[in-house]
Symmetry: C2
Subunit: 368 residues, 2 copies
Amino acid sequence: MRIGILGAGQLGRMLTLDGMRLGHEFSLYDPAGKASAGVGTIYNDPDGQHLATFLNETDVVTYEFEHLPLDLVNRIATEKPVHPVPRALQCCQNRTLEKALFRDLGINTAPFEVVESAEALQAATQRLGGRVVAKSATDGYDGKGQAVLDTPEQAPQAWPRLGCDTAIAESFVPFRRELSIVAARGQDGEMAFYPLAENIHHQGILRFSIAPAPHVTPELEDQAQRMIRTLMNELGYVGVLALEMFETEEGLVANEMAPRVHNSGHWSQNGAVTSQFENHIRAVSGLPLGETAALQPTCMINLIGETGPVAEILRLPYTHLHLYGKAGRSGRKVGHINILADSLEELRWRAMNTASLLPECPEFDWRP
Amino acid sequence: MRIGILGAGQLGRMLTLDGMRLGHEFSLYDPAGKASAGVGTIYNDPDGQHLATFLNETDVVTYEFEHLPLDLVNRIATEKPVHPVPRALQCCQNRTLEKALFRDLGINTAPFEVVESAEALQAATQRLGGRVVAKSATDGYDGKGQAVLDTPEQAPQAWPRLGCDTAIAESFVPFRRELSIVAARGQDGEMAFYPLAENIHHQGILRFSIAPAPHVTPELEDQAQRMIRTLMNELGYVGVLALEMFETEEGLVANEMAPRVHNSGHWSQNGAVTSQFENHIRAVSGLPLGETAALQPTCMINLIGETGPVAEILRLPYTHLHLYGKAGRSGRKVGHINILADSLEELRWRAMNTASLLPECPEFDWRP
């Protein structure tokens, strides 16, 4: 079977590296013409000249990136099976739809209003009360297109910074920590859930994920699984889905979802029985899902801007390096390291030590 | 760094899949024109037309296959660094040189004589006494080019079956089991040793490897490490080397070596901290070696002839599937399965169950 992937960055690369072991072949199609995956048959195709060739040779199409032209994906879906379903893409491209989906499915999310002007943002902030986070309805990722308002009067300054026509104003969630759940759903409706990950951001970019997240009660795990199960069943989802959540005094609050393999699931490459990449490929190619249990406590550290001292990293006996073959550039994800340990305390020391070697990496001051 | 691999079969494929994670790029050059790797930049080049291009783009050259034209490899070595050293290739292409190397280095091996005719084979069998195994000096693998003689009088029938001008006649070793050791040596002389594997053949082809092999005393492990360390140091070896051995009442007897990643090391992909493939690439690219410790008892099962029922295999929560993207054909290695378990007893049941699903797979009647 030849699997087509829309998008050809590091996620497409890692999907291909794991998917080839299942005997599949891969074609990666990048409508932005910025392919970096370096594996599979690559179509760098900003002009759409190679779309027919790509579709002709693929048996099924998936994607590694949610900011794809929706009309392109819908068009492809008339010719080939597309997993996950394009509606998932549509919801994830637009926070208005995504928040409405959460609300309609009874998934706990922060109170919100849709706003289309500075005045509307000010009024919404007044109504919501307290601190408000404003987010561009489209195109936001890695903390871009966001503003925090402590008072309604900050709306006139905040609005132009969002750079959009439509935004979501939502109550700030006083959270203990950010958690995420990654799950897979097969073509027969079978589901598999990875243990929750605890995520630490710095300057709006994910830096560290610890999985399985410690201090997750069975109730919390169950709440997370119910939320993502509800989403996957509603969407008739096939593939890997990620859901970012806030942990609060009253349980979990859903923040946003990603219809693809997710940075907070990279730990599974070394820390789980089956990686999220393999499970995504198993799902979209109609194979049974693999075991998602964790092998050991794992910490994923993103390499941002540059790869750092590769030989020094590899000399540590507990590191697993994953480089993306991309040139270094400030703020760019160029790789990650998975660190395993027998205990959380040992994991903490190993991650601190590894982080201290890396340029542009914040201190790892996490405690289990 | 772009690494060139001579040979483009499943070993080149798995070297590439693991090596890309270290940020390297790969070109695979097949002088036999039978590339099946399906990854990296492939040169299917029986006429030698693309050799210059291949060499021009690669920084270092390694190989996945020992039956390469030696003059080709020597020529390449005048232009680019070749790891492992071509002398290793030369020794492994010729049992006469290989046995002499073992003997000269004091590595315990079965008594042998070089023979070049049926008469010489008969006389050597007489002198060696007891059962004798005759092996073609060159081109033998997977049990081909071999004959067993119980009496000297069988030489006239045995000789033509070897199909060669020069052969080795060696005393049959009454062994308990076949073991192998896989080790890596870096460019700075650093070495790393995998735990020994126990190997089970059927019809001359490796079917099962169990690692770490049970009932390996520290003395046995030490003897294996001393043998392979001696070989690597003598050769100035860089990369992964495998040594097949017989376990006897009196300890280990070296059988043959392979200057490359080895089928009996495939278990390390899922069962060890660092796979043999990653360690080979680390070594030839001048990086520090990775930890070789086993994570869990592991059994590797080769898929011979056809892949079998892929979905059924993947439904078992303890299997890791590795397919080579090759068409099925009787006797051909098309993939393997790594099975992990917490205990040897559980491993045995899991391997028995998995083997029972596979076509052309002998029963797994091993006991720890």
